[in-house]
Amino acid sequence: MARTFKEAAIAGIGATEFSKESGRTELQLAAECSLAACQDAGVDPRDIDGMITFTIDNSDEITLARCLGVKDLAYTTRIPGGGAAAAATIFQAMALVNAGVCNNVLIWRAMNERSQYRFGQNPNNMQGYTGGHGTGTLLWNIPFGAMTPASWGALQAQRYLWKYGLTNADLAHVCVQQRQYAATNPKAWFYGKPITVEDHQNSKWIMEPVLRLLDCCQESDGAVALLVTSLERARDLKQPPVRILGACQSIPFNVEVIANFHHDDMTVMPEARGVAKRLWEMTGLKPADMQAAMLYDAFSPHVLLQLEAFGFCKPGEAAAFVKAGGMALDGAIPTNTHGGLAGEAYIHGMNSMAEGIRQVRGTSVNQVTKKTVEHVLVSSGMAGAVLARA
């Protein structure tokens, strides 16, 4: 294949159901979602020539390739940083297609992160804390009882809340909005189960006084896959192509994933600011040009921090922005319209990437209709992409 620059597009999305017990192996989930993404695109899985997943995905790429009958794999890679990898998979798939080294890049993430193991429980091994998996400093937190992502996320969020005179009650509106979206999404774990501010405030403390149960994502079994190809080729496939207009990662000095305590100002997400800067420069667009956003929401405060980092509102104003309906379908930036990781499922952010694609295709169950969706921002904190109509 001639190595000329090619525009990249997402041609297929695939997913399993989201549950608390899939009843099958992670490898099977990976194979099912990958096949579904290929079928959605109308691409023969045997023609996959690039494969990308998270470093902490348990399925081996070659074994998965042998499930799918992949004829001649040209490139594989894995991305570190837990859920921060979600949008980074799209970025790296784009780069491979742009560079002309791959034609059909499969992205997958498959996990029984409920029935088999749970990130939200005390660790029973240290594998997740080693290089490339979690972050470099997680081990330092363990003897002090900070053993879960919620504890690290809460330590970051507490200073933000304090700085702006907010409390846990101010986070409720993010959760209520996302559960409202989930309530009308048949694929969501919390389909038909909206919550009120009172429900949120009555849910038990996970990390007092920062995070309650309903501030946390819904740990789930399930899998999501995407198929990325060239824009030119995507035009001839089954679905309307979703252009990857821009995509990037950003990991500023002293920033870490979630245990993000060592950079200068803990009340901002420098990594999301870095992603925003690169994305807006790369695309020539601005926050007001986005018709929807999917923002990584392992915990509700991080939605606020990303809304601010990407410039949808000013520092410290996101809670009021959300309370006033900023994330709603008729709001300034409809956000996490599938219900987010808290409402639909926690597939490590990849289900949020899929929802961004559906919004561009016009096929979300909570479709933005007040304007034609031209551009959607997807973010996993340390990475992001602007997806666009072709």
Partner: protein, 148 residues
């Protein structure tokens, strides 16, 4: 490394430590060995004099490989904090207060604040280091309100 003071009556009467021992990586060995001696040390660049945490072989400011471990003041402020309620963290009889301590020397350190109730926690409150025992006869630095 200090040996447990099992022979003293007060130690014999004290409940066995339940706190999990630090997980010691090669780059963190000096820090944790000092903690066992009840010394709270920091890694300082021998060339430009700046502190860094966590320990690493190279100074990110001047790229020097020369480094020294120096005793820190042990003073700091509570930069952020929370109390893990669910799941109850392994190794604690009562839920601890977990905090990011802003150290006087400029680096930050995740630890516990002891000797204060959750409702009495104040942002940026002054704290000082003390040591608590862990399983396996090790010690970790924790912080109490300064002067208490």
């Amino acid at each position: 490394m200090t040996t447990p003071t099992d022979s003293t009556p007060s130690a014999a009467a004290a409940p066995k430590p339940t706190r999990i021992a630090p997980i010691v990586t090669p780059d963190a060995k000096d820090f944790w060995e000092a903690a066992d001696r009840e010394e709270f040390i920091g890694e300082k660049c021998s060339d430009c004099g700046r502190f860094r945490f966590p320990p690493r072989p190279m100074c990110p400011y001047c790229h020097s490989l020369k480094r020294e471990y120096v005793k820190l003041s042990g003073y700091g402020t509570v930069h952020s904090w929370c109390m893990p309620r669910h799941p109850p963290p392994f190794g604690f009889r009562e839920p601890p207060i977990v905090a990011v301590i802003q150290l006087q020397e400029g680096t930050r350190f995740v630890s516990n604040v002891v000797g204060v109730k959750l409702e009495d926690m104040k942002q940026d409150m002054a704290v000082e280091v003390i040591f608590e025992p862990t399983m396996g006869n090790h010690k970790v630095p924790v912080f109490k309100p300064r002067g208490q």
